[in-house]
Symmetry: C2
Subunit: 232 residues, 2 copies
Protein backbone atom coordinates (compact mmCIF):
# COMPACT_ATOMS: atom_id res chain seq x y z
CA UNK A 1 0.00 0.00 0.00
CA UNK A 2 1.24 3.44 -0.82
CA UNK A 3 0.04 6.87 0.18
CA UNK A 4 0.75 8.22 -3.27
CA UNK A 5 -1.20 7.22 -6.34
CA UNK A 6 0.94 6.14 -9.27
CA UNK A 7 0.85 8.29 -12.40
CA UNK A 8 0.60 5.86 -15.31
CA UNK A 9 2.91 6.81 -18.13
CA UNK A 10 3.99 10.00 -16.41
CA UNK A 11 7.33 11.41 -17.49
CA UNK A 12 9.42 14.35 -16.38
CA UNK A 13 10.76 16.21 -19.42
CA UNK A 14 13.56 18.75 -19.05
CA UNK A 15 12.54 21.78 -21.10
CA UNK A 16 15.07 24.59 -21.41
CA UNK A 17 13.23 26.69 -23.97
CA UNK A 18 15.63 25.75 -26.75
CA UNK A 19 14.92 23.73 -29.87
CA UNK A 20 16.33 20.39 -28.71
CA UNK A 21 14.25 20.08 -25.57
CA UNK A 22 11.14 21.26 -27.47
CA UNK A 23 11.57 18.39 -29.93
CA UNK A 24 12.25 16.03 -27.02
CA UNK A 25 8.97 17.06 -25.40
CA UNK A 26 7.14 16.55 -28.70
CA UNK A 27 8.64 13.05 -28.98
CA UNK A 28 7.68 12.17 -25.40
CA UNK A 29 4.12 13.32 -26.09
CA UNK A 30 4.03 11.36 -29.36
CA UNK A 31 5.05 8.26 -27.39
CA UNK A 32 1.99 8.73 -25.17
CA UNK A 33 3.55 10.05 -21.99
CA UNK A 34 1.78 12.51 -19.71
CA UNK A 35 4.57 15.08 -19.65
CA UNK A 36 5.55 17.08 -16.60
CA UNK A 37 7.81 19.78 -18.05
CA UNK A 38 10.68 20.91 -15.84
CA UNK A 39 12.79 24.01 -16.31
CA UNK A 40 15.70 24.95 -14.11
CA UNK A 41 16.42 28.56 -13.29
CA UNK A 42 20.12 28.26 -12.49
CA UNK A 43 20.91 31.94 -12.85
CA UNK A 44 21.63 31.67 -16.56
CA UNK A 45 22.31 34.96 -18.29
CA UNK A 46 19.93 34.10 -21.14
CA UNK A 47 16.86 34.26 -18.93
CA UNK A 48 14.44 34.68 -21.80
CA UNK A 49 14.85 30.94 -22.42
CA UNK A 50 12.77 30.38 -19.27
CA UNK A 51 9.85 32.32 -20.75
CA UNK A 52 10.32 30.31 -23.94
CA UNK A 53 10.19 27.10 -21.89
CA UNK A 54 6.78 28.02 -20.51
CA UNK A 55 5.51 28.73 -24.06
CA UNK A 56 6.96 25.46 -25.35
CA UNK A 57 5.43 23.42 -22.51
CA UNK A 58 1.99 24.90 -23.17
CA UNK A 59 2.31 24.68 -26.96
CA UNK A 60 3.28 21.00 -26.89
CA UNK A 61 0.67 19.82 -24.41
CA UNK A 62 2.60 19.25 -21.18
CA UNK A 63 0.20 18.49 -18.32
CA UNK A 64 2.11 20.99 -16.19
CA UNK A 65 5.25 23.09 -16.20
CA UNK A 66 7.42 23.77 -13.19
CA UNK A 67 10.53 25.91 -12.83
CA UNK A 68 12.90 24.95 -10.01
CA UNK A 69 15.53 27.43 -8.90
CA UNK A 70 19.11 26.46 -8.09
CA UNK A 71 21.61 29.25 -7.63
CA UNK A 72 24.58 28.18 -9.74
CA UNK A 73 25.83 31.76 -9.81
CA UNK A 74 27.00 30.99 -6.27
CA UNK A 75 29.60 28.63 -7.71
CA UNK A 76 30.19 30.38 -11.07
CA UNK A 77 32.83 28.97 -13.38
CA UNK A 78 30.96 29.51 -16.66
CA UNK A 79 30.27 32.24 -19.18
CA UNK A 80 26.57 31.55 -18.55
CA UNK A 81 26.65 32.08 -14.78
CA UNK A 82 29.66 34.29 -14.04
CA UNK A 83 31.24 37.48 -15.32
CA UNK A 84 32.93 35.74 -18.26
CA UNK A 85 32.18 36.79 -21.85
CA UNK A 86 30.22 34.40 -24.10
CA UNK A 87 32.62 33.68 -26.97
CA UNK A 88 31.58 34.16 -30.59
CA UNK A 89 31.28 30.97 -32.58
CA UNK A 90 34.22 31.60 -34.94
CA UNK A 91 36.66 31.73 -32.06
CA UNK A 92 34.60 29.80 -29.57
CA UNK A 93 37.03 26.98 -28.90
CA UNK A 94 39.46 24.57 -30.48
CA UNK A 95 38.19 21.13 -31.41
CA UNK A 96 38.26 18.87 -28.33
CA UNK A 97 38.34 21.84 -25.99
CA UNK A 98 35.44 22.44 -23.62
CA UNK A 99 34.09 25.96 -24.26
CA UNK A 100 33.64 28.76 -21.71
CA UNK A 101 29.87 28.32 -21.90
CA UNK A 102 30.14 24.93 -20.24
CA UNK A 103 28.38 25.13 -16.85
CA UNK A 104 30.09 22.81 -14.36
CA UNK A 105 27.89 19.78 -13.65
CA UNK A 106 24.80 21.47 -15.08
CA UNK A 107 23.25 18.40 -16.67
CA UNK A 108 24.01 16.29 -13.58
CA UNK A 109 22.25 18.89 -11.41
CA UNK A 110 19.26 19.26 -13.76
CA UNK A 111 18.82 15.51 -14.15
CA UNK A 112 19.10 15.12 -10.36
CA UNK A 113 16.28 17.61 -9.85
CA UNK A 114 14.26 15.83 -12.55
CA UNK A 115 14.89 12.58 -10.68
CA UNK A 116 13.59 14.10 -7.46
CA UNK A 117 10.42 15.29 -9.15
CA UNK A 118 9.96 11.95 -10.91
CA UNK A 119 10.07 10.24 -7.52
CA UNK A 120 7.51 12.61 -6.08
CA UNK A 121 5.22 11.95 -9.06
CA UNK A 122 5.91 8.19 -9.11
CA UNK A 123 6.94 8.71 -12.73
CA UNK A 124 9.32 6.12 -14.12
CA UNK A 125 10.63 8.08 -17.09
CA UNK A 126 12.79 11.14 -17.58
CA UNK A 127 13.39 12.79 -20.96
CA UNK A 128 16.35 15.00 -21.68
CA UNK A 129 17.30 16.68 -24.98
CA UNK A 130 21.05 16.17 -24.87
CA UNK A 131 22.74 15.62 -28.19
CA UNK A 132 26.23 14.35 -28.96
CA UNK A 133 26.44 15.12 -32.70
CA UNK A 134 25.95 18.83 -33.45
CA UNK A 135 26.77 19.97 -29.94
CA UNK A 136 29.22 22.16 -28.09
CA UNK A 137 31.53 19.47 -26.76
CA UNK A 138 30.21 19.47 -23.20
CA UNK A 139 31.19 16.27 -21.37
CA UNK A 140 27.73 15.88 -19.85
CA UNK A 141 26.07 15.38 -23.24
CA UNK A 142 27.77 12.09 -24.10
CA UNK A 143 25.98 8.72 -24.18
CA UNK A 144 28.29 7.30 -21.48
CA UNK A 145 27.24 10.13 -19.16
CA UNK A 146 23.55 9.43 -19.70
CA UNK A 147 24.02 5.71 -19.13
CA UNK A 148 25.91 6.41 -15.89
CA UNK A 149 23.14 8.74 -14.74
CA UNK A 150 20.45 6.14 -15.41
CA UNK A 151 22.45 3.62 -13.40
CA UNK A 152 22.80 6.12 -10.56
CA UNK A 153 19.10 6.98 -10.69
CA UNK A 154 18.17 3.38 -10.07
CA UNK A 155 20.45 3.18 -7.04
CA UNK A 156 19.51 6.59 -5.64
CA UNK A 157 15.80 6.18 -5.36
CA UNK A 158 12.79 4.47 -3.93
CA UNK A 159 12.10 3.04 -7.40
CA UNK A 160 15.47 1.33 -7.41
CA UNK A 161 14.98 -0.13 -3.95
CA UNK A 162 11.55 -1.39 -4.93
CA UNK A 163 12.82 -2.97 -8.13
CA UNK A 164 11.12 -0.67 -10.61
CA UNK A 165 13.40 0.48 -13.38
CA UNK A 166 13.70 4.19 -13.97
CA UNK A 167 14.59 5.15 -17.52
CA UNK A 168 16.41 8.22 -18.81
CA UNK A 169 15.44 8.83 -22.45
CA UNK A 170 17.66 10.91 -24.71
CA UNK A 171 15.95 10.53 -28.09
CA UNK A 172 18.11 13.14 -29.82
CA UNK A 173 21.48 11.88 -28.68
CA UNK A 174 22.62 10.56 -32.05
CA UNK A 175 20.63 12.91 -34.28
CA UNK A 176 22.15 15.73 -36.32
CA UNK A 177 20.73 19.22 -35.87
CA UNK A 178 19.06 18.87 -39.28
CA UNK A 179 17.43 15.60 -38.14
CA UNK A 180 16.18 17.41 -35.04
CA UNK A 181 14.69 20.21 -37.14
CA UNK A 182 12.94 17.70 -39.44
CA UNK A 183 11.62 15.63 -36.53
CA UNK A 184 10.35 18.76 -34.79
CA UNK A 185 8.54 19.98 -37.92
CA UNK A 186 7.00 16.53 -38.40
CA UNK A 187 5.66 16.69 -34.83
CA UNK A 188 4.36 20.25 -35.15
CA UNK A 189 6.98 22.15 -33.17
CA UNK A 190 6.89 25.89 -33.86
CA UNK A 191 10.57 26.72 -33.62
CA UNK A 192 9.87 30.46 -33.65
CA UNK A 193 8.75 30.01 -30.04
CA UNK A 194 12.06 28.51 -28.92
CA UNK A 195 15.18 30.36 -27.75
CA UNK A 196 18.62 28.76 -28.08
CA UNK A 197 20.91 31.82 -27.99
CA UNK A 198 23.27 32.22 -25.02
CA UNK A 199 22.95 35.99 -25.33
CA UNK A 200 19.25 36.26 -26.19
CA UNK A 201 17.72 39.60 -25.28
CA UNK A 202 14.73 40.06 -22.99
CA UNK A 203 12.35 39.45 -25.93
CA UNK A 204 14.13 36.22 -26.80
CA UNK A 205 15.83 37.59 -29.92
CA UNK A 206 19.06 35.79 -30.81
CA UNK A 207 22.53 37.27 -31.29
CA UNK A 208 23.29 35.08 -34.32
CA UNK A 209 26.95 34.83 -33.39
CA UNK A 210 27.37 32.52 -30.38
CA UNK A 211 27.93 28.77 -30.51
CA UNK A 212 24.30 27.98 -29.79
CA UNK A 213 23.11 30.26 -32.61
CA UNK A 214 25.63 28.76 -35.05
CA UNK A 215 24.58 25.18 -34.31
CA UNK A 216 20.90 26.07 -34.55
CA UNK A 217 21.27 27.97 -37.83
CA UNK A 218 23.24 25.07 -39.32
CA UNK A 219 20.32 22.77 -38.50
CA UNK A 220 17.88 24.81 -40.57
CA UNK A 221 20.33 25.19 -43.45
CA UNK A 222 21.16 21.47 -43.51
CA UNK A 223 17.48 20.54 -43.31
CA UNK A 224 16.74 22.93 -46.18
CA UNK A 225 14.00 24.81 -44.35
CA UNK A 226 13.54 28.49 -43.52
CA UNK A 227 15.00 29.60 -40.19
CA UNK A 228 12.21 31.20 -38.12
CA UNK A 229 14.59 32.48 -35.44
CA UNK A 230 14.13 36.13 -34.49
CA UNK A 231 17.52 37.82 -34.52
CA UNK A 232 18.40 41.18 -32.94
CA UNK B 1 47.43 26.40 -20.35
CA UNK B 2 44.42 27.13 -18.22
CA UNK B 3 42.84 30.36 -17.08
CA UNK B 4 42.17 28.91 -13.65
CA UNK B 5 44.91 28.07 -11.19
CA UNK B 6 44.68 24.60 -9.71
CA UNK B 7 43.99 24.32 -5.99
CA UNK B 8 46.34 21.64 -4.70
CA UNK B 9 44.62 19.28 -2.28
CA UNK B 10 41.40 21.27 -2.40
CA UNK B 11 38.27 19.36 -1.47
CA UNK B 12 34.60 20.21 -1.41
CA UNK B 13 33.01 18.91 1.80
CA UNK B 14 29.24 18.71 2.16
CA UNK B 15 28.39 20.13 5.59
CA UNK B 16 24.77 19.93 6.70
CA UNK B 17 25.27 21.11 10.28
CA UNK B 18 24.71 17.64 11.70
CA UNK B 19 27.18 15.40 13.50
CA UNK B 20 28.12 13.13 10.60
CA UNK B 21 29.18 15.86 8.22
CA UNK B 22 31.07 17.65 11.02
CA UNK B 23 33.14 14.52 11.63
CA UNK B 24 33.61 14.13 7.87
CA UNK B 25 34.97 17.68 7.67
CA UNK B 26 37.32 16.97 10.59
CA UNK B 27 38.57 13.84 8.81
CA UNK B 28 39.13 15.71 5.53
CA UNK B 29 41.09 18.39 7.39
CA UNK B 30 43.13 15.74 9.23
CA UNK B 31 44.01 14.24 5.84
CA UNK B 32 45.47 17.60 4.81
CA UNK B 33 42.81 18.87 2.44
CA UNK B 34 42.02 22.56 2.07
CA UNK B 35 38.30 22.23 2.72
CA UNK B 36 35.63 24.21 0.90
CA UNK B 37 32.53 23.59 2.98
CA UNK B 38 29.25 23.42 1.07
CA UNK B 39 25.77 23.59 2.55
CA UNK B 40 22.60 23.28 0.55
CA UNK B 41 19.54 25.29 1.47
CA UNK B 42 16.88 23.09 -0.13
CA UNK B 43 13.97 24.50 1.81
CA UNK B 44 14.36 22.05 4.70
CA UNK B 45 12.06 22.64 7.63
CA UNK B 46 14.94 22.34 10.12
CA UNK B 47 16.61 25.52 8.94
CA UNK B 48 18.70 25.95 12.08
CA UNK B 49 20.97 23.24 10.71
CA UNK B 50 22.20 25.82 8.18
CA UNK B 51 23.35 28.13 10.97
CA UNK B 52 24.98 25.12 12.61
CA UNK B 53 26.77 24.36 9.32
CA UNK B 54 28.36 27.80 9.30
CA UNK B 55 29.52 27.31 12.91
CA UNK B 56 30.89 23.85 12.13
CA UNK B 57 32.77 25.07 9.04
CA UNK B 58 34.43 27.87 11.02
CA UNK B 59 35.13 25.66 14.05
CA UNK B 60 36.82 22.96 12.01
CA UNK B 61 38.98 25.19 9.85
CA UNK B 62 37.30 25.17 6.45
CA UNK B 63 38.93 27.71 4.13
CA UNK B 64 35.47 28.92 3.15
CA UNK B 65 31.80 28.07 3.55
CA UNK B 66 29.18 28.49 0.88
CA UNK B 67 25.45 27.87 0.97
CA UNK B 68 23.79 27.14 -2.36
CA UNK B 69 20.03 27.39 -2.64
CA UNK B 70 17.90 24.87 -4.52
CA UNK B 71 14.18 25.03 -4.08
CA UNK B 72 13.13 21.43 -3.42
CA UNK B 73 9.89 22.64 -1.85
CA UNK B 74 8.84 23.15 -5.48
CA UNK B 75 8.80 19.38 -5.92
CA UNK B 76 7.92 18.36 -2.34
CA UNK B 77 7.40 14.68 -1.61
CA UNK B 78 9.05 14.64 1.82
CA UNK B 79 8.27 15.41 5.44
CA UNK B 80 11.28 17.76 5.32
CA UNK B 81 10.11 19.85 2.38
CA UNK B 82 6.33 19.51 2.20
CA UNK B 83 3.36 19.68 4.52
CA UNK B 84 3.87 16.15 5.83
CA UNK B 85 4.46 15.48 9.55
CA UNK B 86 7.90 14.30 10.68
CA UNK B 87 7.22 10.91 12.29
CA UNK B 88 8.40 10.13 15.81
CA UNK B 89 11.11 7.52 15.99
CA UNK B 90 9.05 4.82 17.72
CA UNK B 91 6.59 4.72 14.84
CA UNK B 92 8.87 6.11 12.21
CA UNK B 93 8.81 3.23 9.77
CA UNK B 94 8.97 -0.50 9.44
CA UNK B 95 12.33 -2.11 8.82
CA UNK B 96 13.16 -1.95 5.08
CA UNK B 97 10.67 0.84 4.54
CA UNK B 98 11.88 4.24 3.39
CA UNK B 99 10.64 6.83 5.90
CA UNK B 100 8.63 9.99 5.21
CA UNK B 101 11.70 12.13 5.92
CA UNK B 102 13.40 10.80 2.80
CA UNK B 103 13.84 13.72 0.37
CA UNK B 104 13.61 12.48 -3.22
CA UNK B 105 17.05 12.53 -4.85
CA UNK B 106 18.48 14.84 -2.18
CA UNK B 107 21.94 13.31 -2.02
CA UNK B 108 22.14 13.12 -5.80
CA UNK B 109 21.27 16.81 -6.02
CA UNK B 110 23.67 17.84 -3.24
CA UNK B 111 26.54 15.79 -4.65
CA UNK B 112 25.83 17.22 -8.11
CA UNK B 113 26.13 20.77 -6.76
CA UNK B 114 29.32 19.76 -4.91
CA UNK B 115 30.61 18.39 -8.21
CA UNK B 116 29.91 21.69 -9.94
CA UNK B 117 31.77 23.62 -7.27
CA UNK B 118 34.66 21.15 -7.33
CA UNK B 119 35.01 21.76 -11.06
CA UNK B 120 35.02 25.50 -10.60
CA UNK B 121 37.72 25.16 -7.93
CA UNK B 122 39.70 22.53 -9.87
CA UNK B 123 39.34 20.40 -6.75
CA UNK B 124 39.61 16.65 -7.33
CA UNK B 125 37.99 15.46 -4.11
CA UNK B 126 34.50 15.57 -2.65
CA UNK B 127 33.68 14.47 0.89
CA UNK B 128 30.21 13.44 2.00
CA UNK B 129 29.10 12.18 5.42
CA UNK B 130 26.69 9.47 4.32
CA UNK B 131 26.47 6.43 6.52
CA UNK B 132 24.95 3.02 5.85
CA UNK B 133 25.05 1.52 9.36
CA UNK B 134 23.13 3.62 11.90
CA UNK B 135 21.06 5.43 9.31
CA UNK B 136 17.48 6.01 8.31
CA UNK B 137 17.30 3.58 5.40
CA UNK B 138 17.53 6.18 2.66
CA UNK B 139 18.53 4.58 -0.66
CA UNK B 140 21.01 7.36 -1.44
CA UNK B 141 23.23 6.51 1.53
CA UNK B 142 24.34 3.09 0.30
CA UNK B 143 27.86 2.27 -0.91
CA UNK B 144 26.59 1.29 -4.36
CA UNK B 145 25.00 4.72 -4.73
CA UNK B 146 28.25 6.47 -3.85
CA UNK B 147 30.25 4.31 -6.27
CA UNK B 148 27.76 5.06 -9.04
CA UNK B 149 27.99 8.77 -8.32
CA UNK B 150 31.78 8.72 -8.48
CA UNK B 151 31.59 6.95 -11.82
CA UNK B 152 29.10 9.53 -13.09
CA UNK B 153 31.26 12.40 -11.80
CA UNK B 154 34.16 11.23 -13.91
CA UNK B 155 32.02 11.10 -17.04
CA UNK B 156 30.18 14.37 -16.37
CA UNK B 157 33.08 16.71 -16.04
CA UNK B 158 36.10 18.40 -17.51
CA UNK B 159 38.26 16.35 -15.09
CA UNK B 160 36.94 13.16 -16.60
CA UNK B 161 37.53 14.33 -20.17
CA UNK B 162 41.04 15.37 -19.26
CA UNK B 163 41.81 12.05 -17.58
CA UNK B 164 42.05 13.29 -14.01
CA UNK B 165 40.21 11.10 -11.54
CA UNK B 166 37.68 12.75 -9.28
CA UNK B 167 37.11 10.97 -5.98
CA UNK B 168 34.04 10.91 -3.75
CA UNK B 169 35.10 10.13 -0.18
CA UNK B 170 32.58 8.75 2.30
CA UNK B 171 34.76 8.01 5.35
CA UNK B 172 31.81 7.25 7.65
CA UNK B 173 29.97 4.86 5.39
CA UNK B 174 30.72 1.72 7.36
CA UNK B 175 31.04 3.29 10.82
CA UNK B 176 28.51 2.92 13.61
CA UNK B 177 27.14 6.09 15.21
CA UNK B 178 29.30 5.30 18.27
CA UNK B 179 32.40 5.07 16.05
CA UNK B 180 31.47 8.44 14.55
CA UNK B 181 31.14 10.00 18.00
CA UNK B 182 34.51 8.60 19.08
CA UNK B 183 36.26 9.68 15.87
CA UNK B 184 34.78 13.17 16.18
CA UNK B 185 35.91 13.54 19.79
CA UNK B 186 39.39 12.33 18.84
CA UNK B 187 39.53 15.05 16.15
CA UNK B 188 38.22 17.79 18.41
CA UNK B 189 34.65 18.12 17.13
CA UNK B 190 32.41 20.00 19.56
CA UNK B 191 29.13 18.18 19.02
CA UNK B 192 27.19 20.76 21.01
CA UNK B 193 27.56 23.01 17.95
CA UNK B 194 25.92 20.52 15.60
CA UNK B 195 22.21 20.10 14.88
CA UNK B 196 20.83 16.76 13.68
CA UNK B 197 17.15 17.04 14.62
CA UNK B 198 14.56 17.17 11.82
CA UNK B 199 12.38 19.38 14.01
CA UNK B 200 15.06 21.56 15.61
CA UNK B 201 13.78 24.93 16.78
CA UNK B 202 15.18 28.27 15.65
CA UNK B 203 17.91 28.06 18.31
CA UNK B 204 18.93 24.59 17.13
CA UNK B 205 17.42 22.74 20.11
CA UNK B 206 16.45 19.16 19.33
CA UNK B 207 13.05 17.50 19.76
CA UNK B 208 14.56 14.26 21.10
CA UNK B 209 11.87 12.19 19.43
CA UNK B 210 12.48 12.04 15.67
CA UNK B 211 14.55 9.44 13.85
CA UNK B 212 17.57 11.73 13.58
CA UNK B 213 17.50 12.43 17.34
CA UNK B 214 17.15 8.75 18.17
CA UNK B 215 20.12 7.72 16.01
CA UNK B 216 22.25 10.54 17.38
CA UNK B 217 21.41 9.79 21.04
CA UNK B 218 22.18 6.11 20.46
CA UNK B 219 25.65 7.11 19.25
CA UNK B 220 26.49 8.89 22.50
CA UNK B 221 25.03 6.08 24.63
CA UNK B 222 26.90 3.37 22.71
CA UNK B 223 30.15 5.36 22.83
CA UNK B 224 29.69 5.82 26.58
CA UNK B 225 30.08 9.59 26.49
CA UNK B 226 27.84 12.40 27.68
CA UNK B 227 25.37 13.71 25.10
CA UNK B 228 25.92 17.47 24.69
CA UNK B 229 22.80 17.93 22.56
CA UNK B 230 20.54 20.79 23.64
CA UNK B 231 16.98 19.53 23.78
CA UNK B 232 13.82 21.63 23.90
Amino acid sequence: MTLRSPTPCGAVVLVSGGMDSAVTLAIARARGFACHALSVDYGQRHRSELAAAARVAAMLGAVEHKTVTVDLRAIGGSALTADIAVPEHARAHAVDEIPATYVPARNTIMLAIALGWAETLDAGDIFCGVNAVDYSGYPDCRPAFVEAFERLANLATRAGVEGRHLRVHVPLIRMSKADIVREGLRLGVDFSQTVSCYRADAEGRACGRCDACALRAKGFVDAGVADPTRYV
